[in-house]
């Protein structure tokens, strides 16, 4: 059979086409297009509809101090992580060493940012999807408008709003505004927060922790669709790269390894892949192959791919830089589920226990559980905030920022955003003018993984009604918490 005939034949056999335009309740605009051939071979594509703002290009020729302010405006829900990542990258380029106080404040700020983003996504954007459409009256349909969902669950709504407000308040105390934050800058902060206000937040943290625990209980009761697909997970981690590990004992003796915790603000890149071959059954606690890549080697192992008419540059990784250069990169998953999978051992005992309400020990290969991972992270990050606030309040105040010399250089920064690791890279000249800027956002990294998940999941929906299928596909897409505004920037 000639190729053309094969194509025609495939067209005839194409049994089902699915397209969902303008998927709501996410950040940014995008559509889904999928098809099932013979009921089991699937095609799935996420088509982004966001206009390109060319933020990276705009910054070229402009001063370094504009970068955190401009890049924070990439995204209205995660401005802090863009701001901090760009600051870290520029500090790397200038060789700035910030104070411990600055690091603690930034950690609190970033953790609070993740909590308020998670609380919104969990309860308002993704949560309503998980109510089974078979209930009478069909809930998912009713809850397509959140204002109705809110009326049905007034108690839980109050908890989610309260938790979000708690985190937003911390953000406001430290950075002077919730959206498009003001105080963080290269070298530290423009202004230090009022310690009394922070003390007040600390006094109220028990209630916030109780709220996070109630939210976890609520989400543990939901029904998560049965679905699994083995994939690779990447995130920042306190685990040390192999080279550093060789002298791990020495490091431990020096006490450098004592501050290990569930990484958000800092770390090297931890990559895990299923150790067994892809056909073996998936069990909880399956062995994984772990590699820790020094952050500085990021560009050796990760690469953005460009295609005509695609505004999002999707990223792939490969442990072999040679294979990557040849275009043989692998698809990977990031975000809350990747962090729980890779860094489970670093969680507080309380958070580990909370995870048990959802599933056994990780790794977990069901992307719907990203929602569960976000719920547990709300608790974990509150516990970290509690610890950090206590340290900060006890310490006598250091200067808000350190002084530094502007010089030519290159720098890469990485911070965990709510949706996964965010990378910023800058090249600066001797006057601090930006010569090159590259931003690799979480959504650009996980879009390939999302499509692979959708391809695997589509055949499982073939017996569903068209309406139920659309709802289930949206549930999977929204569980990823995609941000196309970030991805396109």
């Amino acid at each position: 059979m000639s190729l053309n005939h094969a194509k025609l034949d495939a067209k005839k056999r194409e049994s089902m086409r699915i397209s969902i335009n303008h998927i709501a309740k996410t950040e940014g605009h995008f559509s889904f297009e999928g098809a099932l051939f013979n009921g089991d071979i699937a095609r799935a594509k996420i088509i982004t509809l966001e206009g390109a703002r060319l933020i990276e290009g705009m910054l070229v020729g402009r001063p370094y101090y504009e970068a955190p302010i401009l890049t924070s405006r990439i995204c209205g829900i995660c401005p802090i992580v863009h701001m901090l990542t760009s600051i870290k990258a520029i500090e790397k380029a200038f060789g700035v060493k910030v104070s411990e106080q600055t690091i603690i404040l930034r950690k609190i700020l970033e953790n609070a940012q993740i909590i308020h983003s998670h609380a919104l996504h969990l309860f308002f954007l993704s949560g309503p999807d998980f109510f089974p459409p078979k209930a009478d009256p069909p809930l998912a349909e009713n809850f397509s408008n959140d204002l109705k969902f809110i009326k049905k669950f007034p108690k839980e709504t109050a908890i989610a709003v309260r938790l979000r407000d708690y985190a937003l308040n911390i953000v406001k105390i430290i950075s002077a505004r919730a959206v498009h934050n003001l105080t963080p800058e290269v070298g530290g902060f423009k202004k230090l927060p009022d310690k009394q206000k922070l003390q007040k937040s600390l006094n109220e943290i028990d209630k916030a922790i109780a709220d996070a625990e109630s939210l976890i209980k609520f989400f543990a009761k939901l029904k998560y669709p049965h679905f699994q697909r083995k994939t690779n997970f990447a995130c920042l981690s306190s685990d040390l790269p192999a080279k550093a590990l060789a002298s791990a004992e020495a490091l431990a003796k020096e006490g450098l390894a004592k501050n290990k915790e569930y990484s958000i603000y800092d770390g090297d890149i931890c990559l895990t892949s299923p150790a067994s071959n892809c056909h073996s059954p998936i069990k909880s606690g399956n062995p994984v192959k772990k590699t820790v890549i020094p952050l500085a080697d990021f560009f050796k192992h990760f690469k953005e791919e460009e295609f005509p008419k695609e505004m999002v540059k999707r990223a792939k990784f490969d442990l072999s830089p040679v294979a990557l250069a040849k275009g043989e990169g692998k698809v990977y998953m990031i975000g809350a589920i990747a962090r729980i999978n890779n860094n489970f051992k670093f969680l507080n005992e309380k958070s580990k226990k909370a995870w048990k309400q959802f599933a056994d020990k990780p790794p977990i290969y069901n992307s719907f559980y990203n929602v569960a991972a976000q719920a547990v992270e709300c608790l974990e990050l509150l516990l970290q905030i509690e610890k950090d606030l206590k340290i900060l309040i006890k310490k006598p105040a250091a200067p808000a920022a350190v002084s530094f010399k502007i010089k030519a250089g290159k720098g890469l920064g990485a911070v965990e955003a709510p949706r996964g690791t965010l990378y910023h890279y800058y090249e600066l000249d001797k006057n601090g003018i930006i010569k090159k800027c590259q931003i690799i956002t979480p959504t650009a990294q996980f879009l390939n993984n999302l499509e692979d998940d959708l391809k695997e999941y589509l055949p499982k929906t073939k017996k569903m009604s068209a309406k139920e299928r659309e709802q289930k596909l949206k549930t999977l897409i929204r569980a990823y918490d995609p941000c196309i505004a970030c991805a396109t920037h």
Partner: protein, 283 residues
């Protein structure tokens, strides 16, 4: 503001029906929508008083094409052709169209690419103009397949459709949004703020960054923000637009620009003026 606007404010206030409101976003960060959501309980209370019939952050329903809105709030920039079509459709279906935030009102950070930096000076590129400007260099710096990227000079909403009212700032203040919607519900006339940010900054006792040697546009920028940037020691770069129609505003603008020109390199002043698009208003 025009007479037609007041006409509708009167009509809307007289109706005993709930206001039908739509909140739309074109290409942007959606930060203004989040500023509204961040109102939390206050937002939920407002949602009981008006019919929010389009807010895609909160609801799934697709709306029939001919739906009509009493008030449409639009944030972001019409960067793509699709954006422009949407914007024109919203205009057609709405009694009042309110530009929400700095992108909608002044082009926002997106309009930075409209300026060219050739030969020391910089001049505005006309929307519609086909001149090769900075923006073509910019798109080539970002995309390999740049020829497929829609890259117009970024317009303000009122350069594409008629805009009835503006809520400025990057991002908007949620409280200001609330105040305006409640005024619309009650049929109260809306007032544009005429005092400069500088006055609000002094009232609140924040340190003067201009005196400390930083470029601050507070003396010539419309207030209403409570000098929030200054509360975080960030100088004002004019995201609410320049003061006008008030006594002494022309003089204030001339004075500040004079002061800046004497004390700072031209490039540095231009950067601050370009950031949120106040440069176009300053001429």
């Amino acid at each position: 503001m025009n007479r037609r606007f007041y006409y509708w404010v009167d009509i809307l206030g007289m109706k005993n029906k709930k206001l039908k409101i739509g909140i739309f976003s074109l290409t942007c960060c959606e930060g203004c929508e989040f500023a509204i959501l961040d109102l939390g309980e206050k937002f939920l209370k407002l949602a009981e008083k008006v019919d929010i019939i389009n807010f895609r952050l909160l609801e799934e329903n697709k709306h029939p094409k001919i739906e009509e809105y009493d008030v449409a709030f639009v944030e972001g920039s019409p960067i793509t052709k699709e954006n422009e079509k949407t914007l024109k459709k919203i205009r057609k279906n709405s009694r009042l169209l309110v530009a929400l935030g700095n992108c909608a009102a002044m082009g926002g950070i997106h309009q930075i690419k409209n300026w060219e930096h050739a030969a020391g000076g910089s001049s505005p590129t006309n929307y519609e103009s086909k001149r090769i400007t900075n923006k073509s260099k910019i798109v080539k710096a970002v995309y390999k397949y740049w020829q497929y990227v829609e890259n117009p000079a970024v317009p303000r909403l009122d350069e594409v459709v008629k805009v009835d009212f503006t809520i400025p700032a990057c991002p908007i203040s949620g409280e200001e949004f609330l105040e305006i919607v409640y005024n619309l519900i009650n049929g109260k006339k809306l007032k544009e703020k005429t005092n400069p940010v500088c006055r609000e900054c002094q009232t609140r006792g924040f340190a003067c960054l201009l005196q400390k040697g930083q470029i601050c546009l507070g003396p010539i920028t419309c207030g209403g923000c409570g000098a929030v940037c200054l509360s975080g020691s960030q100088p004002c770069w004019g995201c609410r637009g320049r003061i006008k129609n008030s006594k002494g505003s022309e003089e204030a603008v001339a004075n500040l620009l004079n002061h800046l020109t004497k004390n700072y390199p031209a490039k540095k002043i231009e950067w601050a003026k370009e950031f949120f698009g106040i440069k176009k208003e300053l001429g």
